[in-house]
């Protein structure tokens, strides 16, 4: 039996749990200096003058950089932005925006770096940064998408004729006339709030420049070391080979640690200029201001349905507040791309306007826009159920894409590889005894307690591969090497943000080579050692990086078998690799297998390490001369089901695998305060072949925590001047262990994909959207007030409390409860 499918704990768990992790801020270098940034306190302003004299005089200050110097020594940031953004901008009425790591004359959000200081210690650097006097001239602020779209709105970016950066549109059938003919029509608005991912480890960079080699070494809390290397080399005008990026342990990424930040380029800039190690570790308040926001979107919908709950036609007019158009604003297009998610709708129109405002740019955040799309669709399903007087589960079942309709072309042209949504829902309902819950609910109600059950379904496509992108590619490289002692090293282009994919990759390679798992070492996150790869995003590390490692291991396996066959005097086809040895498949059970096959003849089996030794030490021998020396293979894997050639392949399809999850939550709502507590959560997750259920569940648990945070607590708030008011963890509430449901279970369904050799889909972003939807649904169920529709997140006590009181009849319910 192999390792794949077994429950094996992450190989770094113990090390990390006992505090032996080494994060970027733990990396020691001799004689370091420390960077601090001067950030704009204005959301929109012109910079009139920067006076650094007061900072220069401070003892311990080593260097101060202003925008002009950085502009001279680095290339502008257009390269550092996702190229698809550049491509899109080129089509946009000449709307362009090129920026250096420090703002030169213009700042477009509060928190934008304006000047940078380096000092002997972090406190002096911070003090000096405070002494840099910047004179600003305020410009009119665009603080919300609503304001940005008003005719005559001041521009968030000077010189642009409006605040629209991109309008994504998809259509199928004739939604307008189908809605006009539909027996029932509902309309409404769904709203998802602005978020940040909040990894435990904020951003951190440590760089050194060697005058001897002319090379820059950057330790970075990053998700993509090779892409990072290209960006740093490009920004500093260096050859890629002269930049080494090392990713030590990462304390969470969730999308916010994709490379291309102002801060990282500045650390590299100073390291080269000073020829001295430079360190920067982000403060939490800086993280909130400048790392990258996500998700703020509203959806105006109009849905026509039949009496049986079948969704006949759907129009969605969505608007996303993307802040400044850098970073990962393309998430808003992904939202549109996913709609209407796992549901089959014959007539559908999707419009998404990505609107710029004077807020921080978007950064990637787990879900990458898919969570907003699923949340929107789930709310629509619940509204149809309420309007038609049907069961919420029944409405979903009647609208799901049928299991025999895959691969299924969705409205956008997205090609959904495989799925069985009805199966996942049926399995979920088997886990959640609805009848028993209704009895529990009724009993609780007589005691004045309001319990509710909610169901949510999410579709989370993974493995993003966009045309013409340096960031988002659906291929990756891996090297597998066996040393003369039979130990295996896997070097991958993919990385782990702490999710444990190194364990899964080791399992795949160990199975393919038939060696014990503990003889396989996985090396990630070092551009000098690992083959080129795209790193970690879109849940790609196991399904794409694991597949590359599998391909490389397979080459090694063939060589081992070929030499093993000679050593055993057998046909390679008759051999198998398992338990550290190559043996004749028809071998008898021990102890008979320990004896030679016939007197004086070859053995039944040979240890793999002896085969490896033979290849290294007897390269000219009779058993080895027919194969190439060495035991190392580097292979690159390109995932299936990506279509980038619309002229020959139809529409653009950039997500190869489509995992999904059905989830149920039970909540208790305090009618007096509006406070919601999540009591139980059960989910059925399907990411195709499960390589390691323990790791998939651990990831999903994390996703559920973030989904509950999105549903109930987390929200970035700005004032009218686009000043961020939530810049600490006291203001931006995260769920902790205390807020997690006491009962939490994740079950699996396996619908393999044809896009990867193992049938495995991505699994890293699952768990966010389902709980967002299920909690909203459960709170409505708990309150049992007719007409109550909770369409805006988060469901903080104030919002729930007000909603209860705004709906007619709610007060009586509160009194009887």
């Amino acid at each position: 039996m192999g390792y794949i499918g077994q429950r094996i704990p992450g190989r770094n768990n113990l090390r990390l749990a006992r505090g032996a992790g080494q994060f970027t801020a733990d990396v020691q270098m001799p004689n370091p200096c420390f960077m601090a940034l001067v950030r704009s306190p204005y959301a929109h302003a012109e910079i009139e003058h920067v006076d650094v004299s007061a900072a220069q005089g401070l003892p311990g200050v080593i260097d101060i950089a202003t925008a002009a110097e950085v502009a001279q020594a680095t290339r502008p940031f257009s390269f550092a932005r996702p190229p698809e953004v550049e491509v899109n901008l080129a089509d946009m009425d000449g709307k362009r925006l090129r920026e250096y790591a420090l703002a030169e004359r213009w700042v477009g959000y509060s928190g934008r770096p304006v000047a940078a200081v380096v000092a002997e210690d972090p406190n002096t650097a911070a003090e000096a940064a405070e002494r840099v006097a910047v004179q600003y001239r305020e410009l009119p602020v665009v603080a919300s998408a609503e304001d940005a779209l008003k005719p005559g709105s001041p521009g968030a970016i000077p010189g642009w004729n409006d605040n629209l950066v991109f309008h994504t549109r998809y259509a199928k059938g004739d939604a307008a006339s189908a809605i006009a003919k539909a027996p029932g029509v509902i309309t409404g608005r769904v709203q998802v709030q602005r978020h940040v991912p909040v990894p435990l480890e904020p951003r951190a960079f440590v760089a050194d420049y060697s005058t001897r080699t002319g090379r820059l070494t950057m330790y970075a809390s990053t998700q993509m070391p090779h892409t990072d290397r290209s960006i740093l080399a490009g920004a500093l005008g260096m050859a890629s080979e002269d930049v080494q990026v090392i990713q030590p342990d990462v304390g969470g990424g969730f999308g916010c640690k994709v490379p291309g930040s102002d801060e990282e380029v500045l650390v590299a800039f100073f390291a080269r200029r000073l020829e001295r190690p430079v360190r920067w570790t982000e403060e939490r308040s800086e993280y909130f201001l400048a790392c990258g926001h996500a998700r703020e979107t509203w959806f105006d919908f109009e849905a026509g349905y039949r009496e049986d709950g079948k969704l006949l036609a759907l129009r969605i007019d969505a608007v996303a507040d993307i802040g400044l158009p850098f970073g990962a604003w393309v998430q808003s297009s992904v939202t549109a791309y996913c709609l209407p998610c796992g549901y089959a709708v014959d007539h559908c129109e999707v419009s998404m306007r990505s609107v710029v405002t004077n807020k921080c740019k978007w950064g990637g955040y787990r879900g990458f826009g898919k969570e907003a799309a699923s949340f929107c669709m789930e709310r629509i399903m619940d509204r149809i159920a309420d309007a038609a007087g049907l069961d919420r589960v029944e409405v979903r079942l009647c609208n799901f894409i049928p299991a025999d309709a895959f691969p299924y072309g969705q409205v956008s042209g997205a090609l959904l590889d495989s799925g069985n949504y009805q199966g996942a829902m049926a399995k979920l309902l088997a886990l959640v005894d609805q009848e028993a819950f209704r009895q529990e609910q009724a009993a609780a109600r007589t005691n004045g307690r309001c319990l509710g059950l909610g169901i949510g379904f999410e579709l989370t496509p993974e493995g993003c591969s966009m045309p013409n992108s340096d960031f988002l590619q659906g291929w990756d490289g891996a090297t597998v090497r066996m040393d003369p002692g039979g130990r295996v090293t896997v070097l991958t282009g993919v990385t782990s943000p702490g999710s444990g994919n190194e364990t899964g990759i080791a399992m795949i390679v160990a199975d393919e080579l038939g060696v014990p798992l503990d003889t396989v070492t996985v090396v990630q996150g070092d551009t000098d050692r690992c083959p080129y790869g795209l790193g970690n995003f879109s849940s790609r590390s196991l399904m794409i990086g694991g597949s590359a490692a599998l391909a490389a291991a397979r080459e090694l396996r063939e060589k081992l078998l070929s030499v093993g066959a000679k050593m055993l005097d057998a046909d390679p086809e008759d051999l198998e690799l398992a338990n550290g040895e190559i043996r004749v498949a028809a071998a008898p059970a021990p102890p008979a297998a320990d004896a030679p096959r016939n007197p004086g003849g070859p053995a039944w089996s040979v240890p793999i390490r002896r085969v490896a030794r033979k290849i290294y030490s007897h390269a000219f021998g009779a058993e080895t001369a027919h194969v190439e020396p060495g035991l190392e293979s580097t292979r690159y894997f390109r995932i299936g089901n990506v279509h980038h050639q619309p002229e020959t392949e139809g529409r653009l399809s950039f997500y190869p695998t489509w995992p999904f999850m059905a989830v149920a939550v039970v909540v208790e709502v305090d009618v007096e305060t509006g406070f919601v507590e999540v009591l139980r959560c059960a989910a059925v997750h399907d990411c195709g072949t499960v390589v390691n259920p323990t790791l998939v569940e651990a990831n999903t648990h994390g996703g559920i925590a973030q989904g509950l945070g999105a549903a109930l607590y987390e929200e970035l708030l700005h004032d009218d001047a686009a000043q961020l008011l939530t810049t600490t963890l006291m203001d931006y509430t995260l769920p902790t262990a205390v807020e997690m449901p006491a009962e939490l279970s994740v079950a699996h369904q396996e619908t393999p994909t044809a896009a990867t050799p193992l049938g495995a889909k991505g699994a890293g972003e699952s768990g966010v959207a389902g709980p967002m939807a299920a909690v909203a649904s459960a709170v409505e169920d708990a309150l049992g007030v007719e007409g109550l529709a909770l369409m805006t997140l988060p469901l903080k006590p104030e919002r729930v409390w007000r909603s209860i009181r705004e709906v007619a009849g709610a007060v009586q319910m509160g009194e009887t409860a």
Binding site: P41, S110, D719, D720, Q723
Partner: protein, 182 residues
């Protein structure tokens, strides 16, 4: 952000009004003021040093006074408008300041609408109201001292002497310490 303060001073309305508009007085009583210069009619440049955590730092700004209402029986009032920028961000806003009779003294009502930005908004917003309150208290206390100092100031006027004597006598009869009526 809306802020409201009020305080009763033991001084007649006219005296309070004049003192509140006297740059020399303001330069002495505004907490942390390092510089207070008249740059035009009812317009001043100021440098302020704030020591309260979360907004700590030096701020440069300008304030001006407009819409003065004085005379008649109704309350006096004016509008103070200003803004400044410093190490922790910026603040701007306006305050309506109203003077009305309160027994022998004068009641001062401050009704302000303030916008803040930068770290003051992010880190400090939860405590900004408290900070503003502390600074207002400091200001009022210093102002109170200033008014008293004026009353007991060297030489003094005949009227002041008579008023003090009267209070002293009243105090003897009521066996209460002279001075404060409250």
């Amino acid at each position: 952000m809306k802020l409201k303060f009020s305080r009763v001073f033991d001084a007649p309305r006219v005296a309070l009004w004049s003192a509140m508009l006297d740059p020399a007085v303001l330069a002495r009583v505004i907490p942390g003021v390092e510089r207070f210069e008249t740059v035009g009619e009812d317009t001043y440049d100021a440098t302020l040093k704030v020591g309260v955590p979360a907004v700590k730092g030096e701020y440069q700004g300008q304030v001006s006074i407009r819409d003065k209402v004085r005379g008649g029986d109704g309350p006096y009032s004016y509008v103070l408008e200003g803004g400044g920028q410093g190490q922790q961000g910026w603040a701007k806003g306006e305050a309506r300041i109203e003077f009305s009779d309160a027994g022998p003294g004068t009641r001062l009502d401050v009704d302000a609408d303030v916008q803040v930005g930068g770290r003051i908004a992010g880190v400090g917003q939860r405590m900004i109201e408290g900070v503003a309150k502390i600074m207002a208290e400091e200001f009022f206390a210093a102002f109170d001292r200033e008014l008293k100092r004026k009353r007991t100031g060297a030489g003094g006027s005949v009227a002041f002497f008579l008023r003090a004597a009267l209070r002293f006598l009243r105090g003897l009869f009521t066996r209460r310490s002279p001075g404060r009526s409250s």
